[in-house]
Every structure is written in structure tokens, then in C-alpha cells.
């Protein structure tokens, strides 16, 4: 029996003949697809990536990731901070009203009962809702 480096036996020669025939019988569609694959491979071999693309692409990816994180933080920041700023502004306005001499004069004037009524109305509405 042949061990590859010796001359082939009759069995091996027959097997080779049958396999060769099988290759010849490969249909036209498959041959066409193989041809297309070969052309694509040869074309791709000519379009090698330039070195600068290989070195710059990871850096560009890192910059893009950093920008994304910055944008996310930027957009999230107002949601947590704006109410605090608004509250602080309201408190400042209240302090202005209390320290404003004219405002106290208004309270001391004839509108006192009106403000009391308005406050009572506000409390009633708050309870009913």
C-alpha cells in the first residue's frame, strides 16, 4: 500500500480519477461564483489600508467616546441643578419683599385683609386638590 511518497496503488489511481471527474462536473453557477470570489479577493488585496488609518482610528474612537460622555453629562446637569437655583431665586425674592420698606408699608395699609383672604383661598385650594 502506498505511503504517499511511493507510487500510487490502483485503488489510489481510481480514487484520483473519480475525484478529478467530480471536479470537472462542478456546475457553471458554482464556477461563476468561485470566479467572482477570486476577483473580489484580488481586488481586496490591492486595497490595503494605509498605515495612518490603522494608527489614528483607535485615537479617533477614544475622542468620540470622551465627547459622548461629556455630552451626556452636559445634558443631565440642568435636570438636577435647575430646581435648586429656582428655589434659591424664590428665597431671594421673599427676602427682598420682607426687607423692602415699601412692601411692609403695603401690608400695613388697607390691603392686609385681602392678603389674608388670598392666603386662606390658596390653602383651601391646596387641601381640595
Amino acid at each position: 500500500m502506498s505511503l504517499m511518497d511511493e507510487s500510487p496503488t490502483q485503488f489510489e489511481r481510481n480514487a484520483t480519477a473519480v475525484l478529478t471527474e467530480a471536479v470537472l462536473r462542478v456546475d457553471a453557477r458554482t464556477r461563476s461564483r468561485l470566479n467572482q470570489a477570486r476577483q473580489a479577493a484580488l481586488e481586496a488585496a490591492h486595497k490595503r489600508r494605509p498605515l495612518w488609518r490603522l494608527t489614528l482610528m483607535p485615537a479617533a474612537g477614544a475622542v468620540a467616546a470622551a465627547l459622548l460622555v461629556t455630552m451626556l453629562l452636559w445634558h443631565r446637569a440642568p435636570e438636577t441643578r435647575l430646581p435648586a437655583i429656582e428655589g434659591r431665586a424664590d428665597a431671594t425674592m421673599d427676602m427682598d419683599l420682607l426687607t423692602d420698606k415699601d412692601a411692609i408699608d403695603l401690608l400695613d395699609g388697607g390691603d392686609g385683609p385681602f392678603y389674608e383672604w388670598a392666603a386662606a383661598q390658596s390653602d383651601t385650594n391646596g387641601e381640595s386638590s
Binding site: M1, S2, L3, M4, D5, P8, T9, Q10, F11, E12, N14, A15, T16, V18, L19, T20, E21, A22, V23, L24, R25, V26, D27, A28, R29, T30, R31, R33, L34, N35, A37, R38, A40, A41, L42, A44, A45, H46, K47, R48, R49, P50, R53
Partner: protein, 208 residues
């Protein structure tokens, strides 16, 4: 030189775009022609080898295409004598990857209630027409022998199948087969010897 030409005349066309190989270079042209010739010579045999291993036409075509692509991209500059073992080594790796992926996919798909049957595609009888037409009686004998051999090959362990096909179909010698299979020449001889024994035991009189 290219930059100089571009600076000298803003309307001059560069020989090749950035990232491309200069195809006007005679050495490149010769190499491309040689590679094309090599691939054209092995592609159908490689397809049959991949088909024997994967038992699926489209998968076999994909494997051959990937092997051609990788050879052209990574090893085109190597001496042409090295292309054949390299190509079959790449193809073998690709076949093994596809077999592994198929095993995993099979396990996953087994859990799904519905799955598309890839074998349902209708065959186009015109497209699949044979490219050669032997005489009817001879054709019948060959059909029988081919069917029996393909069935027997399917039953062989992968390494034996590979050693047998690389030798009998592609005609690689022991050293080239060892390089393609990534093993020693002694292992190649053992795989091949066992393959021939097993095939002979199954096919018997049909081939003797």
C-alpha cells in the same frame, strides 16, 4: 514622487489612490497575474474539499472565498511555491471555524421552536447543469463510484479525510500536506494510510 507630480500640476492624476497598490508597477501586475492563475487552478478542487468537510455548498463557497481573500491580502508577497500549502492551511482553519460555529448554532437552534430550513431552497436545474458530458454508461459508472466515494469520505475522521483529499485530489506531497495540515510528516502518513485502509474496506471491488 507622487506628491511632487501633484504639486507640479494640480490636474495630474495620481498613479494610484491613497491606500491602493500602484497597479502600473510591472512587478505588481506580474504578481497579480500569477496569483490569479494560482487561485483559478485551485479554486474548484478547494471547493470540493470544503464541500466534503462541510457538506454544504454555500458554506464551502464561503470558506474558499475567505481563504482566497486571506491569501491575497496577507501572503501575496510570499514566493509562489508557498502559496498552495498556505492556501490549504488557511482553508482548513476556516473549515474548522465554520464547523465549530455550526456546532454552537446547532445547540442554540435546538432550543428554538421554529427555524428556517436552509435546505429548502429550490435547485435551479439549468444552473446546476454539469459542465462536461461523458457517455451515458460511463457517466452512470462514475456517478456510482463518485456517490460511493463521497459517502465513504464523509464517514472518515476529519484529519484522515483531509490527508486523503490533499494527496489524491490536489496532488500535494508529504511535506506540502504536512504544511497544509499543520502537523508532522509522520502524522500525515499515518492519517493517509488509515484513510486508504478505511476507504478500501468500504468501497472494496468498486475501486480495485
Amino acid at each position: 514622487m507622487r506628491e511632487f507630480a501633484t504639486l507640479a500640476s494640480p490636474y495630474s492624476m495620481p498613479a494610484a489612490y491613497d491606500g491602493d497598490v500602484d497597479l502600473t508597477d510591472p512587478a505588481e501586475q506580474t504578481q497579480t497575474r500569477a496569483l490569479n492563475q494560482f487561485l483559478a487552478g485551485v479554486e474548484v478542487k478547494a471547493f470540493k474539499i470544503a464541500q466534503a468537510a462541510l457538506r454544504h455548498e454555500d458554506d464551502a463557497l464561503d470558506a474558499v472565498q475567505d481563504a482566497m481573500l486571506q491569501l491575497a491580502r496577507a501572503y501575496a508577497k510570499r514566493p509562489a511555491e508557498e502559496w498552495k500549502p498556505l492556501f490549504y492551511r488557511i482553508l482548513e482553519n476556516r473549515i474548522r471555524d465554520m464547523q465549530r460555529r455550526r456546532t454552537v448554532r446547532g445547540r442554540v437552534m435546538a432550543w428554538l421552536p421554529f427555524r428556517a430550513d436552509e435546505e429548502d431552497e429550490e435547485a435551479d436545474p439549468i444552473a446546476q447543469a454539469a459542465s462536461t458530458e461523458p457517455q451515458p454508461v460511463r457517466r452512470l459508472e462514475l456517478d456510482e463510484a463518485m456517490g460511493a466515494l463521497e459517502k465513504a469520505l464523509e464517514g472518515l475522521p476529519r484529519r484522515q479525510q483531509q490527508a486523503f483529499l490533499l494527496r489524491t485530489l490536489e496532488g500535494l506531497d508529504v511535506a506540502q500536506t504536512a504544511a497544509a495540515m499543520g502537523c508532522s510528516q509522520g502524522s500525515v502518513k499515518t492519517h493517509y494510510f488509515r484513510a486508504v485502509q478505511a476507504l478500501r474496506a468500504q468501497l472494496g471491488d468498486l475501486y480495485v
